[in-house]
Assembly symmetry: C2
Homo-oligomer: 197 residues x 2
């Protein structure tokens, strides 16, 4: 138990709500905020309020946006939809600057053990988009853990026989890494997905 | 470079001002705040504003407080002053529940290389307290790194010949740790500070 006075204890407690932040780290953050000038602390508060007031979900793809539909949905090729878990996956792919299609952000990964079920993710919205008939390809860019595989399998099954091409990001050895350090599943997938050169 | 929209990028940037938070962690925090309910985000903001508005420095000891002088300075024995760097050191000692004296929070450690000089810490306030003549003992609970030692030495020199007893927290092997893992300085201090039992 900490002996901090109430306003500090309350701030520490708020910081523990951030992902991966325990009591010690939350204390460091709270004391840092206290040591900020009033203007800096106000900037912090304004940034939170500004983000909460101006950021919403795109009604098409489910990504965070200021305008609806979002910039990507407003300007890009809707015949290819890349399905991801989270907004940070969109950010990672956009940083490559190569993909010209649009996204669908599910809002998580299927994980019944953690109470993330089919109804909790934006599957219905995805299937409604696909029923419009403009889609030629769905790229399943879900993660390669059990939940990501389950999520991809669920979508792939739904689309079977729809005539829409369904692809999955290639799995294999990471670029620049040594064979000996790859885990067995990765190595096995790299073998079965081997490419003729 | 990240492709987040402006309100998110701004929030990410604010989080990087917290100690030890890089771009990736700041993104996780920002996305977590966005996923909070409006009420939760408002609680976050209120906790920051509440702390900034209600927490000040105690005019006697320099610790964070809501009332001035602070609860510790108002109720405890002023004949023993324990000198520490930061408010979190007070918290650590208070958690023991053993010390009955008061504190003096310097606000940091002497570190000329990082531009923390004598004028930046609350030394003058300490010496003014000591000149009142109520003090029998000053416990130097500064850290055991170079900066903490320099800070302690500076105070000890100032008090030489003042008749005030000056003590330093014992240094030695940590409780429950193996001799072989102690660094040389620690082991050497444990030897020179050995106690008759």
């Amino acid at each position: 138990m900490s002996n901090y006075i109430e306003p500090i204890a309350r701030l520490v407690n708020m910081f523990t709500k951030l992902p991966g932040v325990g009591a010690k780290t939350a204390q460091r953050y709270a004391l840092k905020v206290l040591s900020m000038s009033d203007a800096e602390a106000q900037n912090f508060v304004d940034a939170i309020l500004h983000a909460k007031q101006n950021v919403k979900l795109c009604s098409v793809c489910g990504n965070y946006t200021e305008q609806d539909p979002c910039k990507i949905c407003s300007t890009r090729d809707h015949s290819i939809i890349c399905v991801v878990h989270e907004t940070k996956d969109v950010d990672a792919i956009e940083r490559l600057g190569e993909f010209k299609g649009v996204y669908h952000v599910l809002g998580g990964a299927l994980n019944p053990a953690n109470n993330v079920n089919i109804g909790d993710l934006r599957f219905a919205e995805l299937f409604r988009r696909l029923q419009k008939g403009d889609t030629k390809e769905v790229i399943l860019a879900t993660n390669t853990r059990v939940e990501g595989e389950a999520t991809a399998t669920y979508i792939a099954r739904f689309l079977k026989g729809s005539g829409i091409k369904v692809t999955r990001l290639a799995q294999g050895i990471s670029s620049g890494s040594e064979l000996q350090y790859a885990d067995e599943v990765t190595l096995s997938r790299a073998f079965s997905n081997r490419q003729e050169i």
